[in-house]
Point group: C2
């Protein structure tokens, strides 16, 4: 649930007067994104999304996020395009918060992705990685890669075992494994790092765009695939769907073929991605204020996914076509 | 904050296929209304609001609400117009809830109404009362008029004094006064009963429409004016703004002149309206779950308004032009 900062129509009108998108016609808080306040704007020029950046976003990262969206849009990637004001500046201030107006992206997210959705995602993900290849104006370290996991583990501490017996030890062992075995030297660049079905829009089965770049960073490109395999290719009963994984990876490879080293690393990257979401969900789960209206995501969903990845014997288990397998 | 019921894009697509408003283009939960879940829909035919009726709305009242909106729209009142499906039915079922699609009303609410806004409101309120005059398909008793207040007082009980010392006694005295002196025989009809600034849209100072008819009922027309005087004509410091009151009442009377009996009753009706919002806010205030993210409205705002109305010596104090005063 979003919308944290209250914006009066009067201050919004004043803010909009610094842009060239016409007068305000309608303005509603929307339930999109969990980190920031988002509003739908309708102006004489059309529909836009207004984002006010809340405390969980580091203001120092905003030039990276906004520069990246502008860069990707200029490379033909369908994503929200920052709107610059009359002074040529995209990032403004409204209601005491950093504020951005971006174009409104049509489409809706799918709740139960099909193999065709996964293929469309694979194509879009490779396109994103290629388009990000020459984005060098800013960079951003992935705060939620391997070095960021141990502090989360320590924050959860012994309370991890209140969520599932033995969870603390399981995470400790997994952390030690991943810290020792995390691949180095794989192709790196801009990754989305949070490309869940919520953040991908479709109309009539056609992928119309990607949103929510607020975890984007510089990291291993194949790690983004591993995140997507976790987020898109498991069934509600916990089973990995190899057909969906194959569709995703094959469509990706048609745009950007994976190296043998990337393919070989896929099982470890998938374990890492599962641990990353297990850890952040676990910490959120343990820190819900009593009586809160927002129920956090279930961390155990990612424990089940992690267990699957630990059982994987070969990258082929993810659905890689044989000719690509290491 | 709204959006309680989760709707998947898949079930929404199936629901929309029973309407003639084209394919779905976008779909966002919006933070509007506190009683129901509201979503913005964009389809090939334009923008719409989808409402899912939650537990606080009695399903038996829905034919009244929907019939009223259709009636008012047919009489030229700017309000959300229910959209009927191919079978000619407006009320459907989605995600296990009664569901309505209505047209999207452009405009934004004002946070600090001006006298000009109050005049526009007065004109629209009189127009609403006149347009409702021949709505007889359904009727609805005002559950939050005098007979509904004593149960709220009893629900608050002694805890009222935890909000303000002496509040319980003050309410008891006020209740006794209003139960004895509530006017009978005044002109009655359809009233909105909750026409706060949130529920009135403007574009560039022009009133574009009224929303949220879910407290509408059959009651004294002048009581609706009393509610609006409370909701629109007090300053943030608690002072009554006679200029705004005069603008509201004069504009109303230009469309529907008040009878002498209605004018004479205005101070009592205004006390009643203040007590009604004091009581519902008090009960909400006392029943907030610990840690809830939603902070209820301050009941003491209406205690201050009630004190003003108790000090009023004549209807003229609300800003009635002399020639209309009783």
């Amino acid at each position: 649930m979003a919308v944290y900062t209250d914006v009066t129509p009067e201050e919004l009108e004043a803010f909009l007067s610094t842009y060239e998108i016409g007068r305000l016609r309608a303005f509603k808080g929307i339930a999109e994104g969990v980190e920031n306040s988002n509003y739908l704007l309708q102006t004489e020029a059309g529909s836009f999304i207004l984002t006010l950046y809340e405390k969980r976003v580091n203001p120092a990262d905003l030039p990276f996020f906004i520069g990246l969206m502008e860069h990707l849009a200029s490379r033909g990637i369908d994503c929200p395009q920052p709107v610059r004001n009359r002074a040529g500046v995209a990032l403004g201030t409204l209601a005491g918060r950093p504020a951005l107006i971006a174009t409104f992206l049509m489409g809706t997210s799918v709740r139960r992705p099909t193999a065709a959705n996964c293929a469309a995602l694979g194509t879009a993900l490779a396109g994103l990685h290629k388009a990000g290849g020459d984005f060098s104006a800013f960079s951003r370290v992935n705060a939620l890669s391997v070095p960021g996991w141990r502090p989360l583990y320590e924050t959860a501490g012994e309370r991890a075992d209140t969520v599932a017996p033995g969870l603390r030890t399981l995470i400790a062992n997994e952390l030690a494994f991943l810290e020792a075995r995390w691949p180095a030297g794989l192709p790196a660049g801009i990754i989305h790092a949070d490309l869940f079905p919520d953040n991908v829009f479709f109309i009539d089965g056609r992928l119309t765009g990607l949103i929510d770049f607020y975890f984007a960073c510089n990291d291993l490109l194949a790690y983004d695939i591993a995140i997507c395999l976790n987020a898109w290719c498991f069934e509600p009963d916990g089973a990995y769907n190899q057909t969906k994984g194959r569709a995703l990876i094959a469509a990706y490879q048609a745009e950007r073929p994976l190296s043998e080293a990337e393919i070989a690393a896929l099982p470890v990257l998938a374990r890492g991605a599962a641990l990353r979401f297990l850890l952040t969900r676990l910490v959120d789960w343990l820190n819900v204020p009593p009586g809160a209206l927002v129920r956090p995501h279930d961390p155990l969903e990612y424990l089940r996914k992690l267990r699957f990845h630990r059982s994987v014997e070969s990258p082929r288990d993810y659905g890689l076509a044989t000719e690509h397998a290491a």
